[in-house]
Every structure is written in C-alpha cells, then in structure tokens.
C-alpha cells in the first residue's frame, strides 16, 4: 500500500462532471507532476458530494479543506498555495451567504451541518471504482456477519425491528416484504433493485449508484440470503451511463474477491446479479411493469394480487426494493436495529435522501433524519429562496406527489404527515417554487408528463389524465367556469380511486394538492383572466416600458406580425390586437425594456 501525505478528492458525479470536473482533474495531474508532487499527493475521483450547485468540488485531506467552483485556471495557484506552502487558498472557499464568512471545512457549512449522512456516508469520500476503499470503510462486514452469525430469519427480524420502510415512495415495511418472499413456496426466487429513477427532479438513486455502488450490492446480497434467492437483477435507467458503468465495475470486483458468485465467503450461499438497462419508460418504475420489462416485454403493469412476493419475475417469488432501500440494509445489519431506530420518528425510522432543487439558494443532494420540518430543509440547508423572492410552494414526490404551500412549511417530513397533507414521500424530489411559479402551470406540467408516460392499459389513466390536462389548458387561457374546478376535483378523485397502477393512482396528486392549497390562483385565472405569477402566456400581454426603450428598432424588425411601431430613437409600442405573443421581441431587446404583464 502506497503512502501519501495528502489526498485530493475531485467530485466525479454527473453535476460536477457537467461543470467541468474532468478537466480540473487532468489539470491537477499535470500540475502535481510539474511540481514533482505526484508521488506524495494522490488524486481520487469520488462520487457525488451533493453540493452540485457549487461544482466542480475539490476536497483536500487530511485537513478536509473544501474548495468549490474550481476551474482549470485555479489549479497552479491551488497546488502552490495548499500543497507546497501549506496555506489555504481563501478565494476558493465556500462563502456562507448569510454571514459572508469563508468556511474552510465542509462539515462547518450549513448545507452539510444539518444533514445526517448514513446512506451517503461513502458518497464523495471514497473512489467508487475501488472495492478496497469500500472495504476499508467497513464494507461487506455486514455480509460477513449475516453469513457467519445469522439465520435468514434473524436477518428478516432485524430488518423488521429497524422499522425500515421502502424508499421508493409508498413506504411499505421492508422486513415484512422480505418475509412474504421468504415464506412464498418455490425453489427459485429473485431479488430486484429498482434503479429506474424516472421522476423529473430526482437524482438520489443515481448519486448512490455513482458514489457508492458496493453498498447497494451488499444490501442485495443480504436480502437474497434472507429470502433464499440465488439470482438478482438491477434495473437501471439507460440515461444514467456513469451509474451503469460503475455498477459493472463494482460487480466485477465483487466477483473477483468471491463476494459474488458461488460459495460466497466460503459458505454455501450462492448469488449473482445481472444489470438490465431500461429503455426509457417512466411506468417501468412500477414493480409489475418493471418485471415485464426485464422479461423483454412492453413495460405494462398488471393488477395485483398476485403480488411479486408470490408470483414475480417469470412467475417466481420476487422481492423488489429501490436503490436507497437496499443502501440502508448493510448499515442496519452492521450497527443493529436499535442504532437505526434512534434516527427519525416513531413510524418513519432512519433518514431520507432528497434532491433539493428549484428556486432555492443551495441546491443538491441532502440526507436528513425523517421527521425534520420542511422549513429546516428549505431555509437552513437550502439557505432560503433564490434572489430573496417569496416562497410559494414546495413540490415533493415528483409527478406522483403534491405541492405544499407556506401553511405546511412546519410539517414534519415523514410518511404519515406528508400523506395527510395530500402529498407523498415519493422517491425524494424536492422542488422549491417562488412567487414567479404559476401553480396551474405546474399542475399542467406534471400532467403533460404523466399523460405522455401513461401506458394506456387502463381507461382512468389513459383518458382521465387527458381530460384533466384539457381542463387545465382551458384555465391557463382564462376559459372555463368556477364549477369546472369542482368537476376537475371529482375527476381527479375518480382516477385516484380506479386506476390500475401507482402511476395512474397518484397522477392526480399534483392537481388535487394545487386545488387544495392554491385554489385562489385557479380562480384568478378563470374569474379575473389573470395569471398572478405572470407565466400563462395567453393571459399576459407584452408591453414596452417607455423609460427603458432606446428606440433601437430591434424588436420591430423581428416582429413577425408588424405589431410593433415607433420611430428610431423613440420609445416603441406594441399593438396587443396584432401581437401573437411569440416572444421574439423580448429576446431581441438588448435593454430588457419588454416585459410581460
């Protein structure tokens, strides 16, 4: 084992890669070589650190100095100051927005301080492509414990006692689910990892797979032992190429060390995994559709029962859990159910990873104990609303979830409280919206998504979503009557009650919650023909602010209908009768003098 005096961790998650972390890493290699430090300092490409907003991220250990938004040009100075002279390069440190203080260590940043990183404990800390680093962090200890000291029944009891619930959205108790599959008659059983993270605005599972793939493999091995399975599948989105690549590497390394395959760790336990790439269909996140897709068919759900625990893949007993659920398992076994029980609330144990995005200052991946008030996530970890605008809503749970308003900010984030507010925990998307977001438009946006992704098998989902979408389109154009709101609500409730699978049953949630918490906004569209947030284009007019217009004629030249008139160097005017609201003038104006109102 080589000894080095410092480690430089460069984030290699999708967010940081998009902001140029690969080039930063190459520049670091060049500079270390140039300075003759390449034998003393080691560069490690890690998974996601979660603070994607501030990428590319670079952390230097042993001190744990956190540098953000590092560019290729910064590298020579960074190497000289930090590694040669031993001084912290102040200008690349994170600045706490509230106090304007520079924070050298990431554990002191508010964004991280409020978090409890259990599932993400290795994400951003180890090189996900090296099994040794996972093992050095107690990796596969839980597997050894299970195979050496525990019966399958003990494992199931331990998971039951921990109170772990499915992190894919519905929150079904994991131990109970395992128990069903274990009791189901049959020799051949399967375990499946649902990594078909299709919710727009969610990237937790991808980050876990990219940053710590072995913890998912270990969880699946333990689950397979508990239910008596020798074969498993990981069904991952093809849109996540990096996650798939790292999973394949992890799988090969585990096989090489005898942690996967026949007679694992010298015992009778045999298990191996296949990685299946999804081909792009949101409905495949539903377990019966996912299994149809693994079997090579159209990914359409079927009615349950029979449940997968009795009749799943190719008719065999099958246990499906999502990535984050599997990622919790090794921690629970290693530390015990009691340890796990100290986090979270009475009915919702442990932590939950959220992808915090939208109009919030700090965006990224956050892991918090269950039961934390929503306000703390948005205002303390997220540091409040971008541009100091007014908070309007937070959307939780993606297209199956709901929009909560200011009145629900103090709600505890756990399965029960969210359910009673009409939302769901979902897989973990948290999209914050400000006063410039129109809730009718948001509901329409989610229906656009679910309408396109509905498989068409059952009528409530196929036809119902289409009809709801048409009504919302009318509202966004100021059409319809106030009675239509009740009609919409009835239709939404009917779809919720009668659709075949989870997609259809939850698709009305964005409509129902926006109607519940933002009914006044719907009414403003219908009654006053006004979109308070200034989003629904049919209800807005383009207007040139005379004080700002320089009379450059750029707008008049691009207007396709000749609606803009005015003399050179004099303020121009838009004729609303002729304007088709294409927005070309607004884009052409260099003085921001054209507004929507």
């Amino acid at each position: 084992m080589e000894l080095v005096r410092a480690h430089i961790l460069v984030c290699g998650g999708t967010g940081c890669t998009s902001s140029g972390s690969k080039a930063v890493q190459e520049a670091l290699h060049r500079e270390l070589k140039k300075q003759g430090l390449d034998k003393e300092v080691k560069i490690v490409e890690t998974g996601c650190h979660g603070f994607c907003e501030q990428g590319p991220l670079v952390i230097v250990y042993p001190e744990g100095t956190f540098y953000c938004q590092v560019q290729v040009e910064d590298i020579p100075e960074l190497v000289e100051e930090h590694l040669l002279k031993g001084r912290i390069l102040q200008r690349l440190l994170f600045t706490e927005p509230l106090t304007q203080e520079r924070v050298p260590h990431y554990k002191e940043i508010d964004f991280y301080r409020k978090q409890r990183r259990l599932v993400l404990r290795n994400c951003g800390y180890i090189d996900p492509e090296k099994i040794d680093e996972y093992i050095a962090r107690d990796g596969y200890v839980a597997l050894a414990k299970v195979l050496g000291e525990m019966t399958p029944e003990d494992v199931i009891e331990e998971i039951k006692a921990s109170g772990l619930r499915g992190r894919g959205g519905a929150g079904f108790p994991t131990g109970l689910k395992w128990g069903f599959a274990a009791q189901a008659p049959g020799e051949k059983k399967y375990v499946v990892c649902n990594a078909d993270e299709g919710d727009p605005g969610a990237f937790m599972d991808r980050s876990i797979l990219e940053g710590d793939p072995h913890c998912v493999l270990e969880g699946m091995l333990i689950g397979a032992y508990a239910i008596g399975s020798d074969e498993g599948y990981i069904y991952a989105r093809a849109e996540y190429p990096l996650a798939i690549k790292r999973l394949k590497i992890a799988l090969a390394q585990a096989r090489e060390l005898g942690l996967m395959g026949d007679n694992i760790l010298g015992t009778d336990f045999c298990f191996d995994l296949h990685i299946k790439e999804g081909a792009g269909a949101f409905v495949c996140g539903e377990e019966t559709a996912l299994m149809a897709s693994i079997e090579g068919q159209r990914g359409m759900p079927r009615s349950r029962p029979p449940f997968p625990a009795n009749s799943g893949l190719w008719g065999k007993p099958t246990n499906i859990n999502n990535v984050e659920t599997w990622a919790n398992v090794a921690n629970i076994i290693r530390n015990g159910a009691k340890w796990y029980g100290q986090f979270g609330t009475e009915k919702s144990k442990g932590t939950k990873v959220f992808a915090l995005t939208g109009k919030v200052k700090n965006t990224g991946l956050v892991e918090v104990p269950m039961g934390i008030p929503m306000r703390e996530i948005i205002y303390e970890i997220g540091d409040g609303i971008l541009g100091d605008k007014k908070f309007k809503a937070v959307q939780i749970g993606g297209p199956s979830g709901g929009c909560l308003s200011e009145g629900q900010l103090d709600l505890a984030v756990d399965y029960e409280s969210l359910g009673s507010a009409g939302a769901i925990m979902g897989s973990g998307g948290l999209v914050v919206m400000d006063e410039e977001t129109c809730m009718v438009d948001v509901a329409k946006f989610f229906l656009d998504f679910t309408r396109a992704e509905s498989c068409g098998k059952c009528t409530p989902c196929r036809e119902g979503i289409q009809r709801m979408r048409e009504m919302l389109q009318d509202f966004s154009e100021g059409k319809g009557s106030l009675e239509d709101l009740d009609k919409l609500e009835r239709l939404a409730q009917t779809i919720k009650d009668t659709a075949l699978c989870g997609l259809g049953q939850t698709a009305p949630n964005p409509v129902l919650t926006t109607l519940r918490y933002f009914r006044d906004e719907y009414e403003a569209h219908i009654r006053d023909k006004r979109c308070p947030a200034g989003v629904c284009r049919a209800l807005l007019t383009y207007y040139i602010v005379p004080e700002l217009c320089r009379g450059c004629t750029a707008c008049a030249r691009v207007c396709p209908t000749g609606a803009i008139t005015g003399k050179v160097k004099e303020p121009h005017v838009i004729d609303p009768e002729k304007c088709i609201k294409c927005g070309a003038c607004m884009e052409a104006c260099r003085f921001d003098s054209i507004i929507l109102k």
Partner: protein, 176 residues
C-alpha cells in the same frame, strides 16, 4: 423479408450488417428476456432500428414481428428513423421547467427551424426532449451527444448551436 433495394452495393452492405446482427443475437442465446438488450445493441450498431432489421431480429429469435414492433414503439429509447449527427436533448424536468426550459426549447426550435422530435434536413441536428437528465442543480440543461450544457438562457443555447455549426463547417473543410 422483402428487400426493396436495387443497388447491389447496398445489398452487400446489408448482408454484412445482418451477419453482425446475427452475432449480437448469438451472444444472448439461451438466456431469458433478451429482446430489449438485443434491440439496444442493434440500435447502437446501426444508429436506429430500420424495418428490415426488426424483421431480421424477429426471424432469428423466433419472436413474432408484431411483438418486436410492440416493444420498440413502447420505449422512448428506440428509434425507427435515423438521427442527426448531433442529438440535442432538452431536459423537461421539474427544476428545468420552473427555470424556463420551455423558452430554451422555443429558441432551439427557432434556431434550427425544426420542431421537437425532428431532424434538420442536412442531417446534422436532431432535437428531442427528455424527462429528466438528473443535473437539476444546473437547470435549465441540455445535452448534445452526451455533453452537458447547464444554466442556459435562450441566447446561450443559440450560441452553442452556432459553435457546433462552425465545428461542422471546419470538419467539412478538412475533408476537402
């Protein structure tokens, strides 16, 4: 299998392609549920899934052509038409939506003169939307052949296209 081509050269190329497809199918022999991975590999090889390839896969695997077609049309990843040289994917995720992805789409449609789902006449660009690319912190986001461009404005998006256009012009000049 009705091969309608008259050009001998193309016929030969197709025979060679069929041989390669048969090799891909051979790799999956004896395993369950392999239609989707076969289609994925064939699409990677040909760039899209032409009708003759679907018929050939059906013939070789013994799966009914209607079923093969049913699977191909169910999943968004599969294309029955060839794609442009550069595939532009506009993220339609929630974070991108609230940060103005609709305006990015409009600007790109206007800049390229095509609608969503179409390919430019010169075969250079295909414009598509995608549910979520998972780079929500960089919203609004597009990818072009897998390269990500984030925190976009309509003007920035147009500029990126013009950079690709000059790259295409340069590569053409090199060929001459």
């Amino acid at each position: 299998m009705n091969c309608s081509c008259t050009n001998g050269g193309e016929g030969e190329r197709r025979t060679a392609a069929q041989e390669n497809i048969a090799k891909i199918i051979g790799k999956f022999q004896g395993r369950q549920g392999t239609l989707i991975p076969i289609l994925q590999e064939v699409q990677e090889y040909l760039g899209y899934l032409p009708r003759w390839a679907l018929n050939f896969i059906a013939q070789q695997t013994g799966i009914r052509p209607a079923k093969v077609y049913g699977v191909v049309t169910f999943y968004t990843q599969f294309n029955l038409e060839p794609k442009g040289r550069y595939l532009i994917m506009i993220c339609q995720g929630t974070a991108c939506h609230v940060n103005g992805s609709a305006r990015i789409l409009e600007a790109l449609e206007d800049e390229l003169g095509i609608a969503e789902g179409e390919t430019t006449a010169d075969g250079n660009f295909t414009l598509e939307t995608v549910a979520c690319l998972g780079c929500c912190s960089l919203a609004p986001v597009i990818t072009i052949n897998g390269n990500t461009y984030g925190k976009l404005t309509p003007a920035k998006a147009r500029k990126i296209i013009s950079q690709y256009r000059s790259r295409i012009r340069e590569s053409k000049a090199e060929c001459i």
